[in-house]
């Protein structure tokens, strides 16, 4: 059952990433150099609407909070994000969009994946040396801003209703998506 779900959901995710233009490095790089906000509007709106509905559906019991998976906060999250950001700007791919782009026939995506496999392997070899360093120093554990109802995670704003926090953040994100400037006609490489 899980395998069928993984095929169906993976196909859907790959299809959507290609259709929204996220697997095209032209769009990623132009988002990062603040020339084309199409993807930034998409990401803000996607996170905003999913955050709001996730907490509504958790609240009325349609989504089980045991399905959530909140990652730990430690210094390496920020430093790793910085290293990630450097590579993301150079290549125009992230791990998910890189593999979707390879599926869509991009040749540069194949080299990105090879580089990625090497980078992940070097980290796998170095982890034993790094795990006791400041990089893995705690920065708040498995914490969320809004209460999830899952006892494994701590809540930073426990005194406020989770719907208000997640809904508020969600609405702010959707408003940001709305007011960011749209794509000018000549900016897409694939305008027909």
């Amino acid at each position: 059952m899980n395998i069928i779900l993984s095929i169906v959901l993976g196909l859907l995710f790959g299809f959507v990433l290609q259709k929204i233009g996220a697997a095209n490095p032209q769009n990623i790089i132009n988002m990062l150099r603040l020339k084309d906000f199409h993807l930034m509007k998409t990401i803000f709106f996607g996170i905003g609407i999913s955050s709001m509905f996730l907490f509504v559906l958790l609240n009325i019991g349609i989504i089980d909070s045991a399905n959530l998976s909140v990652k730990t906060s430690y210094t390496g999250v920020i430093i790793g994000g910085i290293i990630f950001g450097l590579g993301w700007a150079i290549a125009g791919f992230c791990p998910g969009t890189g593999i979707v782009a390879a599926g869509a026939g991009r040749k540069d995506a194949l080299l990105f994946i090879l580089g990625g496999l090497l980078g992940a392997f070097v980290f796998t070899l170095l982890y034993g040396l790094l795990k006791a360093t400041f990089l893995f120093g705690n920065l708040g554990g498995k914490a969320t801003l809004a209460a999830t109802g899952n006892a494994k995670f701590t809540t930073l704003f426990a005194s406020m209703p989770e719907i208000v926090i997640a809904g508020g953040i969600g609405i702010v994100f959707m408003i940001i998506a709305w007011i960011l400037p749209g794509t000018q006609k000549n900016q897409h490489s694939i305008v027909k």
């Binding site: 150099r33 349609i62 989504i63 906060s73 999250v77 590579g87 125009g92 791990p95 991009r106 992940a120």
Partner: protein, 194 residues
């Protein structure tokens, strides 16, 4: 409907709503989406192919598998177990994503030229037509992206999208770190008119 399936790129509102639906659907049915861990699993499988000792069955480990490598052995041998049993939800998901990208691209009108599939316009405008240069840059970029993802414990999918959806602190920290560097680097690296 036909236009919706064949159109080469959706507008931002349809894009944002579809992305949101996919992330809600996956967390409702299984768990939040994550991609970068599977690079480690594939590396582990290759390593395991060349070495008998790298992943071993171990009844004392929480997962039933252990590894002399500290990363594969982390959290009770969780990664070691997935290396030994790659037919699992997260690993198959990534291969289905490749197929999803393939199907979407085959259904859209042939618009992009061959050159566009090696280097985007923003790259060729700045660095010229050399394929080797672009291949080297994406290889280095890929190395940094996956090394950074593994140090951070997730990537755009796991930290940025799934993390911020759950309002998790780590998702916001990762996203801040990422954009703080990616925006100035992209502006400086791709300086130009277009």
């Amino acid at each position: 409907m036909k236009n919706f399936i064949y159109q080469s790129q959706w507008g931002w509102l349809l894009s944002g709503v579809s992305l949101g639906i996919v992330f809600i659907l996956t967390v409702a049915l299984v768990k939040p989406i994550g991609v970068s861990t599977q690079f480690v699993i594939l590396d582990g499988m290759v390593w395991d192919f060349f070495s008998d000792q790298i992943v071993v069955e171990d009844n004392t480990a929480k997962s039933g598998y252990s590894s002399p490598n500290a990363y594969l052995n982390k959290s009770g041998g969780k990664y070691a177990k997935n290396v030994a049993n790659p037919i699992n939800y997260s690993f198959i998901f990534v291969f289905a994503m490749i197929a999803g990208g393939f199907i979407a691209s085959r259904l859209q009108p042939a618009g992009e030229s061959k050159d566009n599939l090696i280097a985007p316009l923003v790259w060729t405008d700045r660095f010229g037509d050399s394929q080797a240069k672009r291949y080297l840059a994406v290889f280095v970029g890929g190395f940094l992206v996956l090394f950074g993802s593994r140090l951070a414990g997730g990537c755009t999918s796991g930290h940025m999208m799934s993390g911020m959806m759950q309002t998790s602190l780590s998702g916001y920290l990762f996203t801040l770190g990422t954009f703080a560097v990616a925006v100035p680097v992209a502006i400086l690296m791709y300086k130009g008119e277009k």
